[in-house]
Amino acid sequence: MIVSGLLILSWIYILFGIVGIFRFSNMYSRLLTSSKIDTVASITILLALIFYNGFSVFSLRLFLILIFVIITCPISNHVIARSAYLNGIIIEKEGKK
């Protein structure tokens, strides 16, 4: 039950992430939305898999992967956003062209 709920939740996050990428017009908003899939959806999937396997060695490995994901995931998004900001890409309000 918990596993199914978490997996459904992760799919909802992925769905909203994809919708957000197409819905927003600004580069920064799209980047923030794509980073949501990277972090929240992947964390939820890993938590679901940990609950599915219960208390086992495989769960410990999944937990280590979860920690690794939490530490390394923000770096790629940060590098993309930083390069866009330093290259002078302007921040526009959503819906305005």
């Binding site: 909203f16 923000p74 956003a81 309000k93």
Partner: protein, 158 residues
């Protein structure tokens, strides 16, 4: 090799991580693990440790666990508000500068990583203890963004 002998703690932590992930006691796997862990330990010289000791102050395990739980809670809390943002499409991306009171590089890294992990906010740049944060909210209030980040993450380490 001298530095590795002096700073064997990092090597041990990396090797335990390697063994837990692979869970194989083949000679080849052990040798590969040792070689990679030595290489990483050697490359980390000057970044993680110097010839005296570790660059960063160690954090209590209880603090890390508490912070991890709080971080997961904050991630899920802001993910729901961000979903509303996507549905309504009335959010404004804005860049705010946040002056942190703490100056430890490890804590600044943890805070900036946590900001990027939280949906709707992202750290763009770090200069000493000044963070440049990209935020996607209903209103572009710089002081509100700064206060929110300080309350959520910085107060935990003070």
């Amino acid at each position: 090799m001298v530095y590795i002998k002096k700073n064997y703690k990092l090597f041990i932590v990396l090797f335990i991580f390697w063994m837990l992930l692979t869970l194989s006691f083949n000679y080849l796997n052990l040798a590969a693990g040792i070689i990679i862990c030595i290489a990483v330990t050697k490359l980390s010289y000057g970044i993680v440790y110097t010839h005296h000791s570790f660059v960063f102050k160690s954090i209590k395990i209880s603090t890390i666990i508490k912070y991890f739980i709080k971080l997961i809670f904050e991630i899920y809390k802001s993910s729901f508000s961000y979903m509303l943002c996507i549905i309504k499409k009335d959010c404004i991306p804005c860049i705010a500068e946040v002056d942190l009171t703490i100056s430890d590089p490890l804590f600044i890294t943890i805070i900036s990583n946590s900001i990027t992990l939280t949906p709707g906010t992202m750290t763009i740049d770090v200069n000493d203890n000044k963070l440049t944060v990209l935020s996607l909210k209903n209103c572009c209030d710089y002081e509100l963004i700064s206060a929110e980040i300080k309350n959520k993450f910085e107060n935990f380490f003070i």
